[in-house]
Symmetry: D2
């Protein structure tokens, strides 16, 4: 992929020593080699943008269906300053990011981890722990349930220790959290752990880039502009992730507090498409299991996130523009003094914290780097 | 306001015979004289656009603060084809529409109705029945509680008969429904009447025109574009209307069915500003009071709206663009087979069905015209 | 297409008497039957919207490839209130509108005019008088040059008399003006006739709907939003129309004034895609052939357009939003006192005056109706 | 401005040694202290964003009218991660950036440079060399013509050597180029130097952020969205800069080539407001002074820009989105084989290369750092 073919040869030569364990033993010096499969989509492009600015990463290979030998700038004109070219083969590297249609990464995972590479899947193939959830929500049978059993759900704020431990597993696989789930789970996790979620409606608004780059009639500018609509009623696939993770947070909290309430059973999730490119706002309407004060909520969220570099708990309703282009998640939680209900609002940039940035954050965890490495960009406004 | 001063003189001469009762007795021929106070804002402009196409209306006067004697086209360049000019005095006419900051119409109402004019207030001054709601929600004491007692809530689909009866009252005053309440109440009324609303969160998305035309930093293009945010947490003034009307629908239904459940006590209402100019989508998340089937919902809504010219019940989630520029409200109601929850989605154009169009519809009711007169515009798409 | 099949039968029975000549002899009463071929695109949808409000038209048939027997509302959800259905056959009617990819209408024209129908082509197949221009600009050989010779260029403001005369031709064919040419030619025609255009650059900005409804990567919301670009450098097909018409206006003016300057030879035309759905602004930079005063320009444009119902000459730079949803063209012409250059700015709604509205205006001309019939809509703002 | 007041005291103590000369002698170590006057506007916010990521800069003070002692995050919520506070006094620092209404920076310049600080003015007060241009174009008399005489026009690609030399002047003042002029001058400079510009129309399109943050009716979302318009006909102030610089480039080229043609006399400049937040596209329509081939153009631009880190000459028409959030300028130049005209297209992000990024680039030049320091951000897309 790089301009000089020698680079790829070097990467190949290093194959036996690939992966986070090899890196941590110092055999690589300071450089992590990275490959991207599915480099021509929006998440792929965002990943390249971020990794080009990462001080410890060398892009060792890009892969994109039917674009072999094309400059990557043909797919991503904004990256015109690079001379990177799309490879024919799946690259060999310490870490492989996959940004592919569902089912595809699962099919190639065994080969990738056999080389020692860590696999960080931006798609959904390694997010759900129960193999039965794949036919149920995604309409395919998971081809590698034994690998699924080793995968870690890729939301570093909740699964940092498991990610670190994954380095010593046979297969190091991260099923990076989806965009809606990232916003929703971070926004609700403290409530879930405290057993506070009685009834829950998650009403989410997303920019259009989350729908990907394939041209479909509904994604045309003329259809999306000056328009808003709900979609995916009752069956959006991200619901499964939210329920899995909120349930687990609830159990974790119940265990810790010996509380009998393990949290929500179902998530009433309703996504909307709004006329913007980037950003997700998850508006979570919660009927609490018991009366709660604002002070209690403030304390819960402060405790949960005060040491998190990418989560900002704020006093006013956040705008997606407050996090545009950054890996930040901004959260505001309020109790309604009139009704006793809780409103929890969270925003992210769906392509950064909801995809490529989260992937880089997970890479940093796996390879023992400070989590903010290469992710220090401030949001762009206006 | 009209180019010839004689017109105004004629209107003045007709003063004693003003108003809907006079019109219905045939003293006017086919023409209703209409004045607009607050003609320079967005709702005022939309009203002029609609009334210029109304076959039975003559615009007898426009009023706008600090713009006296200016052509209306200076305020609304899109209306450049008219030669209408802003008057110095409040016009005399069969019907006066007021589109003013809250508290202003209430102060001038007594004078207007004394002339015989019907008063159709697009602002909030005559929407809430309980005078105590004004200091509570709007922070002012209502200056004319005796007129408030005669006012009819201006949502023709729910209060058509009261509107007609208002013609024979001492004062004919319509407090036209707000934009969010129009979308929300129409979307939920059948559920409220059936006593089905157990728990309710209304998550609404609005275009920016609803915030009016006064320049404020938060309404600048650079702030709104590529952005979404919630606002008005727990205290949006439209909440009061929604609770008043849904409560009333619930009581009406309870009375009819001898059911003990009069409906919701509080509405968890959360509005959002999204980057578009026109349109409101109200996404209503309902936990029903009892299990309900899709067939039952379909029957409820069919019965409620099959004869309504402006309400379309559809099978797929509606887009605001499906009603852009029209007086339509489009509604979709579904029960989630997994959770048993109900999702009710409603869209309107906030400046038409949510303001000026509804006002014209109410005018038609008061003056005994077919309700669709002057409101036959199809939505504009894309 | 209509809900009852009998309608179509009636239309068929009327076939021998189809067309504008038949209508003008009074054999139809007040109703013109109309068919649309290519009803599922944006121009088709706009045409239906306008014709549903036209008092003298009955939609006798809709045709759309691969959508036979579908409700038209499946293609145009905003038209959900109609029960129109897409026909299998090309409809028989007094007038057939074609809104089709280039080359298709030319292929079916002979059949259509043989029935007596007037053909109003929204596509480019009958706009260029010289058959050689089709292979040159459109890369196809015109299949019916003998029909092309009878076609009238469909810009009523410039070719009204020819349109009227076309009713008595063997074939009544209108090649409706393209969207960019409509804005540009109307903006420049008075200068062209006066022989004032020395050097000319037309820098045009268009909303995205002009690119049609076929999903292409470049038309995705995420690509168009927050973006502007030029395209079609030096070879946009509409250039041919502009040169043909401006040349003709120049010749007409030279003939009238015995002036030797017949106008521009080439148009430097540069279109841009901007992030909006509807609207075209043509900014025409003119180096005049001789010094000219503002008063002379004002007089030229006043004379040209004072009696035109759809052309408004204004003193300030017009916005596309001033004409949104209407059949208006708004023009502002200024001379730069510093440089002596002329700036001529014109705006239209590309789907109305630039397509469907212009088509209805031409229909009115052909059938002897007031030109504004069914086109009285005021622009929608904001 | 920093959280601890001691910081400001330290800065004060360092005052005698302030400025680029002091820095270059090594007295500062690696850190340049920087102050921003006018920190609460869009350009100010962008400057903070960039400087927070600059490895050699310490923000020593922020100033903003009527916001003293407020956290900067109250003005720029996207910068919520910083604890910077707005100072009461104008900060003392090696470099002061001013982003102020015209006339204000000129008034405070004498004081600032007296301390040794370099002054980098993002406003227009030091761009025009001829004092008479200020009353003419900006309607104020320049209060410090003696400082104006020492100021350097701040477009590093054209005035790098003068900037370096300015360090040794009594007053080091950079009048940073305006946003439209940056795009236009970079796009045309090679043609101007080659004496190729015969006739010139610059048709520019800008996002709304260039109009600043003061709430004005015309900048409301509802007015700008779904709209395009020209403004500033014949009198936009940036015209003066363009003429000054293109004239100078022409003279420079004429001098070098002994060519008699010193370039354009007047620029026909027409700016447009389009519905996006960031970005400028300058479409330059050029009638060349003599026939020119594409190969000659390619060679001219390659020679001019091949070593420039921020200017990319490309083969296809550039989009503003290709440079969003970056300090890049992307240019495409083509000759029309049919007409012989030249079309030169240039895009920038108006808040980066058109304001804050250019300011940082100039800072790097003044302080002897690599020009790309702190400016390595890739554009964000989509």
């Amino acid at each position: 992929m790089t301009a000089t073919s020698s680079t790829t040869q070097n990467a190949s030569a290093a194959a036996p020593d690939l992966g986070p364990r090899a890196f941590r033993t110092g055999r690589h010096g300071d450089t992590i080699t990275v490959g991207i499969v599915g480099a021509t989509g929006y998440a792929g492009g965002e990943l390249i943008r971020l990794l080009l600015g990462h001080p410890n990463v060398r892009l060792a290979g890009l892969h994109g269906r039917n674009r072999e030998n094309q400059p990557i700038a043909a797919s991503h004109p904004s990256l015109g300053a690079t001379s990177l070219v799309i490879d024919q083969a799946i690259p060999e590297a310490d870490a492989i990011f996959t940004a592919l249609p569902h089912g595809v990464a699962a099919g190639m995972a065994a080969d990738l981890v056999a080389r020692g590479s860590a696999l960080l899947d931006i798609g959904p193939d390694f997010r759900l722990h129960d193999p039965a959830d794949y036919p149920r929500w995604y309409k395919f049978d998971h081809p590698a349930p034994e690998l699924l059993a080793q995968a870690v759900y890729g939301l570093p704020e909740l699964h940092r220790d498991e990610m670190r431990a994954a380095v010593d597993k046979e297969a190091t696989i991260i099923g990076l959290a989806g965009c809606y789930p990232t916003a929703t789970i971070l926004t609700l996790a403290p409530l879930a752990r405290a057993g506070l979620i009685g009834d829950l409606a998650v009403d989410a608004k997303s920019g259009v880039s989350g729908a990907g780059r394939e041209p479909k009639p509904d994604l045309l500018f003329s259809e999306v502009n000056e328009n808003v609509k709900a979609y995916g009623l009752f069956n959006h696939r991200h619901t499964a992730e939210m329920e899995q993770e909120l349930q687990q947070q609830g159990e974790r909290g119940a265990l810790a507090s010996r509380d009998a309430n393990p949290g929500v059973a179902t998530v009433d999730f309703l996504p909307h498409l709004i006329p913007m490119t980037r950003g997700i706002l998850a508006s979570c309407h919660v009927r609490p299991t018991r009366p709660v004060s604002q002070a209690e909520l403030d304390a819960l969220y402060d405790e949960a996130y005060r040491d998190e570099p990418f989560v900002q708990v704020v006093a006013d309703p956040p705008s997606t523009k407050h996090v545009f282009g950054s890996n930040l998640c901004r959260i505001c939680v309020k109790v309604d003094p009139r009704s006793g209900r809780i409103l929890a609002l969270g925003v992210i940039d769906n392509l950064v914290k909801g995809a490529a940035g989260q992937a880089v954050q997970a890479l940093n965890v796996l390879f023992g780097l400070p989590e903010t490495t290469g992710l220090g960009q401030y949001p762009i406004a206006p």
